[in-house]
């Protein structure tokens, strides 16, 4: 009986302690942030969206290779010799046309792994998080600044040059082969000429 009374008393006491805590909070300040009106300030280096400073990109493909989910899609075309693409702000010479640099933010897992290998620090996360879309394909960000015609032109040029180079190389190879054949022929002749001599000498003995 006494124990029951004690237990009841303890129950009531713990309930009142709890109610004391909640009523203190009732009159305390709230921690809610009214989101669209008030926004939390993101710290520097917050990982929210990938951004590429395309002017600094040298097309080395390191970020695409570092990505665990393959959300970076890069296509490069070697610049022809008559074009100088200049240098990046870090001083690296640019050798490739970037005909495609797409990042699919729907796939991105915000791991930051692509940021570290970049030699020119041109790919990085920006603290911008309000970019929801109705269509998933709109989440593919195109960073290449080349116009489609330009891309076609560049590709054609590159192909031509590649073809020319190929032709040149073939020419060279042919020449080399010819020369080699010539040389071999000469050597053979020489050998032919020399052999009988030897034979004669041999026979002479």
């Amino acid at each position: 009986m006494l124990n029951a009374v004690k237990q009841s008393w303890l129950t009531f006491r713990s309930i009142f302690t709890g109610m004391g805590v909640t009523i203190r909070h009732f009159f305390g300040p709230s921690v809610t942030l009214q989101y669209p009106e008030e926004k939390m300030e993101l710290p520097a280096g917050a990982r929210a969206r990938l951004y590429v400073n395309i002017d600094d990109c040298i097309g080395c493909n390191l970020c695409a290779r570092a990505c665990p989910v393959n959300c970076i899609d890069i296509e490069t075309v070697l610049a022809t010799q008559d074009v100088d693409l200049g240098k990046t702000s870090t001083g690296n010479p640019k050798r490739f046309w970037l005909t495609r640099f797409d990042i699919d933010m729907a796939k991105c897992m915000y791991c930051d792994l692509c940021v570290y290998p970049c030699p020119t620090n041109c790919i990085y996360m920006v603290p911008e998080y309000e970019y929801s879309e109705f269509d998933r394909s709109n989440l593919v960000y195109h960073f290449s600044n080349l116009e489609p015609e330009m891309v076609a032109e560049v590709k054609e040029k590159a192909e031509q040059e590649a073809e020319q180079k190929k032709r040149e190389r073939e020419e060279m190879m042919r020449k080399k082969a010819e020369e080699k054949a010539k040389k071999e022929l000469e050597e053979k002749k020489k050998a032919d000429e020399e052999t009988p001599k030897n034979e004669k000498e041999n026979r002479g003995e």
Binding site: G18, M19, T22, H25, F26, F27, S30, T32
Partner: protein, 342 residues
Amino acid sequence: MTEYASNIHPMAAILIHAAIPLTIILVYALVAIWGERKIAGFIQDRLGPMRVGGWHGWAQSIADLLKLIQKEDIIPTNASRFLFKFAPFMMFAASYAAFAVIPFSSAYIGSMINIGVFYLLAITSILTLSVIMAGWASNNKWSLLGGMRSAAQMVSYEVPTIATVLTVVLVAGSLNLMTVTEMQAGNDTLGFLPNWLIFQNPFLIVAFIIFFISILAESHRVPFDLPESESELVGGYQTEYSGMRWAMFMLAEYADMLLLSLLGATLFFGGWNSPFGDFMSGPVWGFFWFMLKGLLLVFVMMWIRWTLPRYRVDQLMHICWNILIPLSFINLVLTALWEVIF
């Protein structure tokens, strides 16, 4: 007003009698749902609804209501259709009908019957029936479990509720709630306290505590909200309900909460009597004081709701049958002795 209406047509008086509590319930429910969410918000360091209607989202409940009206009315394929549709309305009807005997003010009571308390307790037990109906008709195991729990709980807790109400009736000497309220008028207990029943007899304080715990259980509030305990039984008997039918459950639940709080205010806190004697009394002030007392009790119920965890079903029964019922009957006997001696 009602006399005037009955002069025109007897039906008009009935309609007015029906409309007044309904208006009170509906307005109260809109405010209370919003209020509960605000209270929950403030207790939890949040703000609660803030968007609809400008100042602190006051129109949130109205927006919710509009949404619920538009929602598709889903009935499970294998549900018992008639019972499923009927249960929420029966539940609301039960708690609504009980308001007839609540004396809202010295000038207004729905029905001045002599067995008011008896009528109220009888009509609220229909609630149990509708909960079982809803749980069974849904053809869902969780609903069924919720319904069965609820039936057991409400049937059990009716006993201590009735025993404590009986204690008050014993002291007051009347089953008519108007009479009970009228006899609590005045301000001379111990010289300064109002003549409320809770101050008149020490055993009535115990009775009030038992009564309050029982009405928490009767109206399914934490720590006794087992029928709808969302973390165990998903939604209890409400699991399969949506749209307007679900809203009826919600309405009935809040109406029930108000009903029992108002009953508590009438029985223990002097009903529509002003706490300051004659100061600020009169029919309109009476209504104000009455609702204030009721709403304070509702606030305490909400405050408890957002503080405590819930009991388990066997512990709930243990509390009822092993503690509250014996205690309330002992209390009844002791009150009677006190009344005889003094």
